[in-house]
């Protein structure tokens, strides 16, 4: 291979990867279905925005991976990869228009072609597509050559537009809830019913740039000022921050409409589940894939005890709640006993089976007289607090908030105790943990039981929120969602779980188009997180510490 060839290798190779990626998301229908929603109204549909982001990212990587540090070659490489990507798409459009490939590839629709070619028919559209690729490449090339600050500014400004457009359904209702003339005017200035207005996009970029530059200029001063504060003052400011957070959490539902409150309760349920699984997976290192079972048990216990159907025990929610949690704990112990000797993959498989067994049992005809079979159990009353009916999602929100705070408190206390240390020791090395005097049976069962109890708590709240339970609500995907939340948020990190639940459960609710591609997006997100940030989005301090310590420890010598 000659030298000239190897110079272009990266551009072509990465371009091909990017091209295939864009092609895949086009063919599975993402570009088309996301095309119905605009990031900037009338200018940039979301589907196109995603394709553009991938193209620019690929071209940027091509410039970065260029073997020699010659600016013109790097730029050219970016352009080449941009062209390769658009070339892939152009070839696809031309083939699709000449032959009928829809029988094999359902997603290859004329609408997709029209989106890809910017709505221009014939050769002009193909030309436009190639030109877009070229421009993406050129943009990425210029981006690569920029100095650090302008580059970060550009990237973050563009991301701001993307995120503002993406979160329209979160931001717009909150703004409208105020119903004040000024804010209504602002909302109208920034948003249409479908995406940002062009003016809003430009304005938000300007505002973002000003804020970013201000922060950039003063960041050092603020940080050093904070570091210079005496310890007590720092503690005070931390407490103040906590109080502000608490106030925000308490008043939040007042500003959220019905829909957003619904979304936030779903996030809350998953935060509870994530916190429970974090004990089992994060602290004790036992990979439990059947976690939904305890959620189901919590739900069904509350349903059976409070619903007038089937048994009509006539208990209220508060009486049923502790029983549900205790049943969850018992189920955790019962699952724990047979899998005591299992480790790693075997444990994951066995627990996965347990989760399915519970669902299938509930579904079975055999247990129909007691559990309601596929029809489930309905008319579960809402919780009633001192005569106040918790009907709306906003009310359930407070119930969940209380539950989450309680569970976080217990998790933190346990973590710093003898039990938490025993769990972590067991996660690190089971045999040695036992040789340190840790009773593996008790410690494992305690981890399963605690996690299961939290899960049952979440399930109990779920049942009274929905008002009815069906076996189909408790499928294996819930377990998978929770595992993803814990891993992507950051194993062992409590704030990470909240962020993970918000990102993985909240976003898809806000972007209805996502629903269909949820598992695809999770898969991609898992791979990306594992490659780029294996410690998770918001890792525990301990994991951050690992990176700091290595350099320090290297200098140490044996005394």
């Amino acid at each position: 291979m000659t030298k000239a060839q190897s110079l272009w290798n990266q551009g072509v190779k990465i371009g091909a990867i990017g091209g295939v990626s864009v092609l895949i998301i086009s063919l599975i229908g993402m570009v088309e279905s996301f095309g119905k929603r605009d990031i900037i109204a009338g200018v940039l549909p979301m589907g196109v925005a995603i394709a553009l982001i991938i193209s620019i990212l690929a071209a940027y990587m091509a410039a970065k991976k260029t073997p020699i540090s010659d600016k013109s070659i790097q730029f050219a490489n970016a352009v080449v990869s941009g062209l390769v990507i658009s070339g892939f798409l152009a070839a696809f459009v031309m083939i699709g228009r000449s032959f009928n490939i829809r029988e094999m590839l359902v997603g290859a629709s004329p609408v997709l072609y029209s989106i890809l070619t910017g709505g221009v028919a014939g050769a002009g559209g193909i030309f436009l597509l190639l030109l877009t690729g070229l421009l993406c490449g050129a943009f990425a090339g210029i981006l690569y050559m920029l100095r650090d600050l302008p580059r970060r500014l550009t990237v973050n400004a563009l991301l701001t537009i993307f995120i503002l457009g993406l979160l329209q359904e979160l931001i717009l209702p909150i703004l409208k809830a105020w119903d004040v003339g000024m804010i209504n005017y602002l909302a109208g200035l920034f948003y249409t019913l479908n995406g940002l207005t062009p003016v809003g996009a430009i304005l938000s970029v300007v505002i973002f740039c000003i804020l970013y530059l201000l922060w950039n200029a003063n960041q050092g001063a603020i940080k050093s000022k904070y570091a210079a504060l005496p310890k007590e003052a720092r503690k005070k400011s931390q407490i103040a921050a906590l109080i502000v957070l608490a106030v925000i959490l308490i008043v939040l539902p007042q500003f959220l409409g019905l829909f957003l409150s619904e979304v936030i309760t779903i996030v809350g349920l998953y935060v509870l589940l994530g916190l429970g699984l974090n004990i089992v997976v994060g602290y004790a290192g036992l990979l439990d894939l059947g976690y939904v079972a305890f959620f189901a048990i919590g739900s069904y216990v509350v349903a059976l005890l409070t619903s007038p159907q089937i048994f009509a025990f006539g208990l209220n929610f508060w009486q049923a709640l502790p029983i549900a949690v205790i049943c969850g704990i018992l189920a955790g112990v019962m699952l724990g006993i047979p899998v005591l000797k299992m480790r790693g993959d075997y444990l994951a498989i066995a627990t996965l089976g347990f989760g399915e067994i519970i669902r299938i049992l509930v579904l079975s005809d055999f247990l129909r007289p007691w559990l309601g079979g596929a029809q489930g159990i309905g008319s579960i009353p809402n919780p009633n607090l001192f005569g106040f009916q918790m009907v709306k999602p906003q009310h359930i929100y407070y119930l969940l908030l209380a539950g989450i705070i309680l569970v976080i408190f217990i998790s933190l206390r346990l973590k710093k105790s003898k039990i938490g240390r025993a769990w972590m020791a067991m996660r690190e090395d089971e045999d040695v943990a036992q040789a340190m005097g840790i009773n593996l049976v008790a410690t494992k069962l305690l981890a399963f039981a605690t996690g299961a109890g939290f899960s049952a708590l979440s399930g109990a709240i779920f049942a009274s929120k929905i008002g009815s339970v069906y076996p189909h609500s408790f499928n294996v995907f819930i377990s998978i969602n929770v595992v993803c939340i814990v891993i992507i948020g950051g194993i062992g990190s409590l704030p990470g779980i909240v962020v993970g639940a918000a990102v993985l459960m909240g976003l898809p609710e806000l972007l209805r188009e996502f629903a269909e591609y949820r598992m695809f997006v999770y898969g991609v997100a898992l791979v990306i997180v594992m490659l780029l940030r294996p410690e998770g989005l918001l890792p525990e301090a301990r994991h951050k510490m690992e990176f700091h310590d290595e350099t320090e420890a290297g200098a140490k010598t044996v005394a």
Partner: protein, 259 residues
């Protein structure tokens, strides 16, 4: 006084007899070395004492009680603690946490104590921290309490493992090749340290060791294994000159070196 008494202990893996009718008595506050060629059954011997293996036959009396068939965590409670040939720390826990896990057997708090923040639990926890701090100081690792165990250099990992083993406040400490991979200076430090431990803490020590210089210098008594059998036992001087040992284990070349 005899602290540990092993009678006719046999351990088999299928057809292989790993330990064959061992009879060993370990005196209180002695440093008792176990030597032997690779595969002689030394580490298996440790695993039988700590409960990871269950010997098929024989009796092990520790401090007047039988410990055969007890699980490893029960045996720690009786007062036997160990270190490993290939260091086995809890890599992602800090030095302090590692040592505090070692102190686990002395903590009595249950599930609700820490959640409710009971005074008794808090005091117990504070005491555990203090003991862990002191032990880290004892192994010359003060100021490194919050470093993750995996980030320590080799020598410090060995010492940290020692501190963790001491945290359970054992009567008997089993050291599996504590000087493996150490240079002469580190080896000398380790020898001094082991002798200090016996002197200051009054702990009985059983030592598996390959470096003859260490064995001959610090042992009160030496037991020699070969193919799972005890082939000799005696004072270091006697072992050095024992014909069976020289033939079976040291070989002529190494015997010269040992002198």
């Amino acid at each position: 006084m005899i602290l540990l008494s092993i009678q006719e202990m046999t351990k088999r893996f299928g057809g292989l007899v790993a330990l064959n009718e061992l009879n060993i008595n370990v005196k209180e506050k002695s440093i008792h070395s176990i030597i032997g060629p690779n595969g002689a059954g030394k580490t298996t011997f440790f695993n039988c004492l700590t409960g990871f293996y269950r010997p098929e036959e024989g009796e092990v009396m520790f401090n007047g009680q039988s410990i055969v068939g007890l699980s490893p965590d029960r045996i720690v409670h009786k007062g036997i603690s160990r270190t490993y040939q290939n260091i086995r720390l809890f890599p992602n826990l800090t030095a302090l946490e590692n040592v505090m896990v070692g102190y686990h057997v002395h903590l009595k708090s249950g599930f609700f104590g820490p959640i409710l923040g009971l005074k008794k639990t808090r005091m117990e926890e504070e005491k555990a921290r203090q003991i862990a701090f002191d032990l880290l100081k004892y192994v010359k690792m003060e100021g490194k309490e919050d470093t993750l165990a995996k980030n320590f250099p080799y020598g410090e990992q060995r010492r940290l493992e020692m501190a963790r083993a001491l945290a359970s406040q054992p009567k008997l400490l089993l050291l599996d090749e504590p000087t493996a991979g150490m240079n002469p200076k580190e080896t000398q430090d380790m020898m001094d340290f082991i002798q200090h431990m016996r002197g200051e803490l009054g702990i009985t020590i059983i030592l598996i060791e390959h470096q003859m210089r260490v064995v001959m210098n610090i042992s009160d008594i030496v037991t020699v294994f070969d193919y799972g059998k005890m082939i000799a036992e005696g004072l270091p001087e006697e072992i050095k000159n024992n014909k069976t040992v020289i033939e079976a284990y040291l070989g002529t070349g190494e015997a010269a070196e040992a002198h």
